[in-house]
């Protein structure tokens, strides 16, 4: 490593805990969210193991209910919402913009500590009675059950602010700190994706905060809002909850799409096809996503008219997502494609996200949703979108920026083996669940009818293959930290600004202020067929 970089310039625990450097905060977020993913993953393995037999396998029903609740809550609030924006985004967004840091470094650190506080509160529920409401906290079950519901609702409230702070920072940074010459249409698409995400984080998260606070007031002071025994309306809770949580689905997927929009052009050495369509569709999705929450409530007793409107808008929001997929595929046309780890994960994303999106059509359409709602079909659908989509995109981004973050290259061979295992394991685990669902197996079931066992066994065995693949990923990434080779500044031939500084970058990101005079994907011209022939002759 030449000279001091952000990792080596200062040393000691204090220099990390009080750092205002967006890169260090990003790295702290990275390890924390990965830890949360590991915990959520262990819980997932326990769920799958329990479901290998139709009756009790290793835990009782109460424990099972707590385990799936915590799995969902940890994966959503502690992993998937913060992972891409707060970990990878924090690290690369200022670099992509040619900035020294985010607009409000102190707010950034505050966001991290709120995350830690929220995480501790949520996990403290483990030792204070657990929580068995499902991550959706539906009333009046959640107002009448025991356990640590109060603590967890407060944790969600705190975590919400952590997310809002990140959003505020990204919007201000994007508006104010772009390098000279970087106009809005020279911004990398990752920035557009983060920007759209930040809008949702700021506008939707307060609604979640208010909702869980109302739940808390009802539980602690008996204020009648949702519980019919106190004169409340339990369905109102569902409206509030999904008014946040549907847009939150896009807090989860837009960052994933944003990563894919960086990786595919670089590994095809081709400008992204339809830059403006992708940029604007992110913002369009962010807008329309506020108007579709009722598609979670087609059988909850809302009016037929409301259901019809929500169904229609849901289909509209599907179009920009489909357009993005077509754009990514078209970007590869006439490219010069290298199948290195980030690109392998990007293609995995394309395939799995396509399945997740297409099965969404079954759920957006009223007649079929009535049959499939709250069955394993839904469990499979959202895992294809969240794990097959966002999490795989996160892996693509992690492999793409790992050399920049830590200055090391990892083993490509190990990465290929792991990616293959993840792909096979994932599909075995979740494809089987579509069939379980359409055959009528409800979700959140501890016991199930024996006729479903074969598919559950397949799903559980698949989860072992998936886990093995992910352990290999952890293995070679961690090994790369202690091992050569060191990463060059631009290992993948990227044209965005982060590749113009050293790996890892110096504390202030760039030794000289970069000036931008071209688009983010203006790759050098590819050799023609004649040149290829000449070269190989």
């Amino acid at each position: 490593m030449t000279g001091a970089n952000y990792l080596t310039e200062t040393r000691g625990l204090r220099s990390w805990l009080f750092t205002l450097d967006h890169k260090r905060i990003g790295v702290m977020y990275l390890w924390s969210t990965l830890l949360a993913f590991f915990l959520g993953g262990v819980l997932a393995m326990l769920i799958r193991l329990e479901l290998i037999t139709p009756q009790k396998t290793l835990m009782d029903a109460d424990t099972y209910n707590k385990v799936f609740t915590l799995h969902g809550a940890v994966m959503i609030f502690l992993f998937i919402i913060p992972s891409i924006p707060a970990a990878l985004g924090n690290f690369v967004l200022p670099l992509l913009l040619g900035a020294k840091d985010v607009a409000f470094p102190r707010l950034n650190l505050a966001s991290y500590y709120l995350y830690v506080a929220g995480a501790i509160m949520a996990l403290a529920s483990l030792v204070t009675g657990g929580i068995d409401t499902g991550w959706t906290f539906y009333t009046p079950y959640s107002t009448s059950t025991g356990g640590a519901v109060n603590l967890v609702t407060l944790a969600v409230f705190v975590l919400g602010f952590s997310s809002i702070f990140t959003g505020i920072n990204f919007i201000a940074t994007t508006h104010k700190l772009r390098a000279p010459g970087m106009n809005w249409f020279r911004m990398p698409l990752f920035v557009w994706g983060m920007y759209a995400t930040a809008i949702i984080q700021i506008l939707a998260t307060p609604v979640l905060g208010i909702t869980v606070l109302l739940l808390f007031l009802e539980r602690v002071f008996g204020v009648g809002i949702f519980d019919p025994k106190l004169g409340g309306d339990p369905v109102l809770f569902q409206h509030f909850f999904w008014f946040y949580s549907h847009p939150a689905v896009y807090i989860m997927i837009l960052p994933g799409m944003a990563i894919i929009s960086e990786v595919i052009p670089v590994f095809s050495q081709r400008p992204i096809f339809g830059y403006r369509a992708i940029a604007f569709s992110s913002v369009a999705i962010a807008g329309v996503s506020f108007l579709v929450w009722g598609h979670h409530m087609f059988v909850s007793g809302q009016s037929v008219l409301a259901s019809a409107i929500f169904s229609f808008l849901t289909f509209l929001v599907a179009i920009p997502s489909a357009v993005k997929v077509f754009n990514w595929v078209a970007t590869m046309y006439k490219g010069s494609i290298r199948l290195q780890a980030p690109m392998i994960y990007a293609i995995t994303f394309l395939l799995l996200f396509a399945i997740g999106g297409l099965t969404g059509l079954f759920l957006g359409s009223l007649a079929t949703d009535v049959h499939l709602h709250d069955t394993y079909f839904v469990v499979a659908h959202f895992h294809y979108v969240m794990m097959g989509g966002t999490f795989i995109a996160f892996l693509a981004g992690l492999h793409y920026w790992w050399p920049k973050m830590f200055g090391r290259m990892y083993s490509e061979t190990a990465a290929r083996v792991a990616a293959a295992l993840v792909f096979i394991g994932f599909n075995a685990t979740f494809l089987s669940q579509f069939v379980l669902g359409s055959r009528g197996m409800p979700r959140r079931y501890y016991n199930y009818l024996p006729e479903f066992q074969a598919l559950h066994v397949l799903s559980t065995v698949g989860s072992w293959v998936l886990a093995l693949g992910l352990l290999i990923v952890a293995g070679y990434l961690l090994a790369s930290l202690r091992r050569k080779p060191e990463a060059p500044p631009n290992p993948w031939g990227g044209m965005t600004l982060e590749w113009q500084t050293t790996s890892p970058p110096p504390t202030h990101n760039f030794l000289e202020q970069p000036v931008v005079d071209r688009g983010p994907y203006d790759f050098p011209p590819l050799e023609t067929e004649e040149e290829t022939v000449a070269r190989s002759a």
């Binding site: 369905v235 369509a277 509209l316 357009v323 590869m332 494609i337 396509a354 501890y446 067929e529 022939v533």
Partner: protein
């Protein structure tokens, strides 16, 4: 063909199920087409345009308005078709015919109670005529539950705050499963029921005989049947393990400590009171959550349950 269909969905048994299934299979075909299109193009590009391959690359377009309009408008047209198709199915499943047979449903943790117009009450089990529309008017006593019959392709949440409705017309005689699909706690996955679809005559004679459950069965056997049928098993084990309520194992004839400090002997009378007025004598160390079975069980049924509990030594 029908075998193939049953791989993905339970055999269709109601008038609305056919419609739902056609839409389902249409969507499946459409999804398969688009998935294969995306996968094939990706594979083709990755192979043909791999780095260093000998192909004509040149300057490829970075956008193409005609193409982009095309791949936005075709999906748009498709989803509009899907929307109307789905809406049509939903509407016809939402409006019950005026002459439907009406059954009241009360859901509670963790059982389904039914009441027929003539006053006949059943638990977790109903009998309905094939080919006649049936309407369910549903309410919950505690949290939200959801009434789901996979082979009819219908589902409706059951709320504690207001009535919701569901209707169906069965086309296939036989037993059709009821499941709860709104998470409601420990017994959620045990909140099962069954709809027996029978001929009109059979339905009438069953209704007139007042249900006729357990006729000619020995009392203990009948009690065992009721123990599962009425959901006692969700809260009471037979092997001594503690669930929501105390186990039935070895309770008969033993002293029971109550939450008000008294101790009583678990004789037949005590068991009877426990089943009919569970809130008046609450066993120490337990919450008073047991639902009352007053009005749901006839004398023979109560006897059967008591005999069954006596057998659990």
């Amino acid at each position: 063909m029908s075998r193939l269909r049953e791989l993905l969905m339970p055999a269709a048994a109601s008038t609305v199920a056919r419609d739902v299934d056609s839409l389902f299979y249409f969507l499946l075909g459409l999804s398969a087409f688009f998935f294969l299109l995306i996968a094939a193009l990706t594979a083709w590009f990755v192979i043909r345009y791999r780095q260093g391959s000998r192909v004509r690359r040149g300057a490829a377009p970075t956008h193409n308005t005609a193409l982009e309009l095309l791949w936005s408008l075709i999906p748009l047209a498709l989803v509009i078709v899907i929307f109307f198709w789905g809406f049509h199915g939903y509407i016809s499943a939402a409006v019950p015919p005026a002459d439907a047979l009406e059954i009241k449903v009360v859901a509670k943790k963790w059982l389904w109670q039914f009441e027929y117009p003539n006053g006949l009450r059943t638990v977790n089990e109903i009998r309905v005529p094939v080919g006649k529309p049936v309407k369910l008017v549903m309410i919950s006593e505690d949290v939200i539950h959801s009434f789901y019959v996979p082979s009819f392709r219908i589902k409706q949440d059951v709320l504690p705050s207001r009535y919701t409705q569901l209707w169906f017309e069965v086309t296939e005689p036989g037993a059709h499963r009821i499941l709860c699909t709104e998470y409601c706690g420990r017994g959620h996955s045990d909140m099962l029921g069954v709809i027996h679809a029978v001929s009109d005559e059979e339905y009438r004679s069953w209704l007139e005989s007042g249900g006729g459950l357990g006729e000619g069965m020995p009392l203990v056997e009948f009690g065992r049947l009721l123990y599962t049928r009425y959901g006692c098993e969700v809260c009471h084990s037979l092997d001594g393990s503690r669930l929501e309520g105390p186990s039935f194992k070895g309770i008969f004839g033993k002293p029971v400590r109550l939450s008000d400090g008294r101790t009583v002997t678990a004789d037949e009378d005590y068991l009877r009171r426990s089943i009919l007025q569970p809130q008046t004598e609450v066993v120490a160390g337990y919450q008073p959550v047991m639902p009352t079975f007053q009005g749901l069980l006839g004398e023979r049924e109560i006897n059967a349950l008591i005999e069954f509990i006596k057998e659990q030594k």
